[in-house]
Assembly symmetry: none
DNA sequence: GATGAATGAGTGTTCATTCAT
DNA sequence: GATGAATGAACACTCATTCAT
């Protein structure tokens, strides 16, 4: 009995997830306003009505984007925390992290959709800087290590902010130029420029 | 007679402009997809049909955005070309230009709307880097002067690209944080970091 | 359970059919271009949106006209195939078939609407000669029997084409003269003339 | 003064005619309901308002179609009346006339548009059989000559009706098959069949 | 849990017609 | 005679949402 209940709950969770994935994917491709519930239902392989069983309305499908983004970066964070990049200097590790982050964004279309959606709806806070979130937590650690290594006294928060701005700039420009340059190479270049800039101070 | 004809043409030009202004204003406030032609007509004080007398479709109302953006920056370009910043070093002038550009964007809501709209429709090319456009033309001159002053051999196109990325990053982040930091101060800081970065190479 | 599902599906089929009937009826009365979806919805007793649940667009409502026409003639074909006209000569049976076909067209307003619509949209192929379709299949059999009976060597396809042309001429003229002559009498006369014409060769 | 007035009247007549031609041409290509006054104005090279100077409404542009059709056939009638076909038998001349009529229809797209338009609006009488109209007048003469030559007693009106039906059938079928057969060859064949049919009586 | 038929207000767009110039 | 800006009702079509099954 408990088994059956579990199975059911699992299946339900799967359906819910399938809907969300399909929706975000379509939102990415065509924009939130240009995707109908019908299309989502077709893409998710379920009925229109069933979507409303899981989500109170269309908007609600995008509501857990913050979690989604955090999950995506949780794995990366784990890798870094468990010692990846220990052989590099802290500066190299910081640059490396920027590159990895951009690579993930380039590889995951859904992440970009979250990005665009969140620019339009900043109040949702999906992109809000928050050191409890894996992306920003690891970022800060890398930066603090870099500052320590180089004996710089700049406040970590401000440097983090600089790097976040830079990364967002690279992402946006990559979209504007419709993938017309090497995203990770650009990321490496910009990150290097910034670290060099701090040294010069 | 010619006067009368002119008057008519002038009035038509005014109507066209009134429609465009009303539309861009509404797009800015609520987003392209959330503004109906009916609303634009009401805001512009004309009939729905008349909008289609001037523009072939809704999208077309935003079509001259490139010109609009260029016009906004043409004045700035003029100022720089006619010797503004002659007293500064080229480096200072470059940083100054970044700051001014951001200040204009912060002051003109419509420019930001163009920015967001163009991110969704990169194919329209509103944000495309093009040295014939005043914004990019002056930017390049500033950068070339900076590189000459510092005797740097980096290609101007690539450095320009770096600065463009940076500026876009600042703009986006400013929106994400809903104006939560000093845009021009951040611009000055980032531009300074970059110029320092090149020196370090 | 299965019953309930069936009931639902049946009701849906009924709605679909109701829409189609209402639409074809209105098209017949006022012409395709002069009937709005709103009117169809009102006539079918459903909402505008529901029409689009069943048909992808207005044109699509007429899309199954070919099937409709074929169904109308299937009964006639059946009758002929199961031995009607066995007592007549093949020539008489051929003439008889022409007369029957015209009689059906005269009696069914919808068939005429299909005819007119198909003249404007020949690409839909509703009127295309195709020996798999009951109307043309039986027609060809009648003609082959006639040619055999009279020991004529003319190719059946060409003779069929002659008769089709004649029948279409009669139908069109009947409309032009707004029913001002006896359709079946004319059909009999023209068919007789043609058969006599072949004999004379 | 009178000269000027004449010139003006002539130019006006030309404009009127240009509008009518452009309109009928477009009606032919796209159907009456799918052509806008704007398009007609553009095609005729005048303003929308000017069309309403000459015609009270869109429908009115098609109003003089009967005259147009008659003019088209007046030249043919003239040729026949002034002795063309004198060297042939009356039978051959009749067949020849059918062929010529079809050739004109095949060559003049506008005539076909009149045909289609008139099928939808038979009440306008554009296609009405009327012995005062050149097309029917000559047709009747040819038929009477044929009947006399062959010493047939069939009433000329009825035979004319048969031929009219046949010709309309050929025209319609030619459209249905989108020009997929040789129009004049078919006309010759059908006309021959009919004349043979009368002989057989 | 799941279905999909049904709703109806809303959308972008068209177009015959008018009229001041 | 001629223009073309302006109108506004009408159109085909969309879609988030509901609910009986």
């Amino acid at each position: 009995m408990a088994d059956k209940g579990n199975k059911r709950r699992q299946q339900a969770e799967q359906t819910r997830s399938r809907i969300q994935m399909a929706a975000l994917d379509l939102f990415d491709k065509h924009g939130f306003d240009n995707v109908s519930i019908d299309e989502i239902a077709r893409a998710a392989g379920c009925s229109v009505g069933n979507i409303y069983h899981y989500f109170s309305n269309k908007e609600a499908i995008t509501l857990h984007m913050t979690d989604f983004v955090d999950e995506k970066f949780a794995a990366l964070a784990e890798r870094y925390r468990s010692g990846a990049g220990a052989a590099m200097t802290a500066r190299e590790a910081l640059i490396d992290y920027c590159v990895e982050v951009l690579a993930i964004n380039a590889g995951e279309e859904l992440l970009y959709q979250c990005f665009i959606h969140s620019i339009r709806h900043p109040e949702a806070g999906v992109l809000r800087i928050d050191y409890n979130r894996p992306f920003f937590a690891v970022f800060r650690e890398r930066i603090e290590a870099f500052l320590a290594e180089e004996r710089l006294t700049a406040p970590a928060e401000e440097v983090l902010h600089d790097f976040v701005v830079m990364i967002r700039g690279v992402m946006i420009e990559w979209r504007i130029e419709e993938g017309g340059f090497d995203l990770t190479a650009k990321g490496r270049r910009m990150a290097t420029l910034l670290t060099d800039g701090y040294r010069a101070r």
